[in-house]
Subunit: 346 residues, 2 copies
Amino acid sequence: MYNNFKSEIIYQDTFTVSPFAETKDLLIYDQRLHSFLSPHLPSWQYKYALEAGEDLKEFSTATKIIEKLCEYWGTSSSRQSRIIVCGGGSIGDFAGFFASILKRGVQLVQIPSTWLAAIDSAHGGKTGLNIHKIKNQLGTFYPAHQVYLFKDLLFYQPEERAQDAFGECLKMMLMGPIAWDDVNRRVQSDLFSFLWDQLPSAIEKKYQIVLEDPYELTGKRKWLNLGHTFGHVLESVTGKGHGLCVLQGLRFSLGWSVRRGYCSSPYADAIENFIHRSRVPVWQGPDFKELLIHSQLEKLLQADKKSQSDREIDFVFIGGPENVFVQKVKISDVIEEVSRQGWIIS
Amino acid sequence: MYNNFKSEIIYQDTFTVSPFAETKDLLIYDQRLHSFLSPHLPSWQYKYALEAGEDLKEFSTATKIIEKLCEYWGTSSSRQSRIIVCGGGSIGDFAGFFASILKRGVQLVQIPSTWLAAIDSAHGGKTGLNIHKIKNQLGTFYPAHQVYLFKDLLFYQPEERAQDAFGECLKMMLMGPIAWDDVNRRVQSDLFSFLWDQLPSAIEKKYQIVLEDPYELTGKRKWLNLGHTFGHVLESVTGKGHGLCVLQGLRFSLGWSVRRGYCSSPYADAIENFIHRSRVPVWQGPDFKELLIHSQLEKLLQADKKSQSDREIDFVFIGGPENVFVQKVKISDVIEEVSRQGWIIS
């Protein structure tokens, strides 16, 4: 058991195994990293490659792998052993869940390989598994003991991986002051370097929020849901990357915040201009409107884990610079706004 | 998520559903309690009967039931829902594990139906599942929010259930002062009433120890392992009740403590006399010696979860009144003592 929600964060330019290759530890890694990791793999006696993706997060699949891992490593491990996980969100979630229940909790070290995991999912101690594709029905609060961020590993990822992290990066930026000229210039010149430079402040802000509400009891952690209500809907119906959908969800929240008078147009324009300069793809409502029909939208919003009832959900609005806030809204009002923004056949 | 290790304990003479029959809650209960519970069952909209025993604790079985429970109740439940569990150790362990991972933790209310669960396993926040019969390989630390102790439910159990709790009761007694004349008189007259009267002090002592070391990190919780090292060996080879085996394990520790000069003979005699008056069955070594062969004993002791290495384990000795203590011992020394006490073909 490890319940210090402030993980130790270590930034390094080059991947190295020395801090965590101990004979009794287990390395779990994304099989796609095999060639990147292959010079280092002999350092681990126990290692296990997995195929990333939502299938791995399905409870029945995950528990079968947990049984295999227990057979492979269980009797060699002790409560002093560690699980080192090198991969993106789904592998990090799976390994975090496994670490949280093995011998009632062994230490977890996260080495995020995707920008999305590096900036968001490796931090904050949430693990989640799905039951019949209903997301995160099962899981634990189980923070990593350490998170290693290796520049060469993250830069090894394809461009789309960086684009997929941009939405979560922007989400965290909106919770603090922004020097628009500086960030516009940097994001336009190189998205990878921009993300790498933003990591420390984005991560720091996430931990500030998490530490105020580690177990999601006071409501503060709901701030982190900015862009996710409509983002999850798009993710479900399009199957596109989580981060790209969150970016769209963030723009949806921005548009609604302006219309309700919470957020000034110049601030919204500055955000849209910044997104434009990043060259991360955005979509317009009509691109998908054949997919978003009223009844489906209602069902997806009701299933949202932040839903408090069948008719209301907590929605995160943008109130201006350094200001996001949560407000209860009617699901019917969300649907009306989705329609108004041109995403739906009304 | 609920991580207050001091559960609220409620003692009542008569079973009543009023404190915990809310429409959104789930009742999980031992199917053997069906006739006892039947007048109350209509109070719950969601209820699920299970067959108790070690099979339920096998990970592959438990996860299949968890999937069924998610299908049955998952979408009707929220993080504000509670799981009410009425049963003994195996059902309490299963339900505690499920509560700890459902939506990253929902509230758990324990209603122990066996004396062993009432005095021990319902308290202290340990849940455990087995992998291929290796005990408690997977689990969580997840204390119950409340533990209800109903006198009529516990007195409804057969005599053997009370006998099976006597070892754990005695274990907790040894950690405090004992008025021998009083307890001898009471245990001789009625074991059920004796256990009921002992519950508050035994439970209070357990929480004192648990709160000093909730996550089993400082070593203090190892005190609770008194009688369990040799007890688990007997449990594995004989299949007899956990508590009866712990009582034997406690006597084994007592004999060894006397031989090593840690414990005076008069104190040991007082304990043995008290056990005798309880009329709880005890065995002599020769009863089982055909079962305990050297190689098997070594393997079982090495697999003990309190083992720190292949050659040493932590063993709990009795140092005299109000004094138990943990000491590292060689596995070979345990085997020698088992042989010396007549339990093994040397």
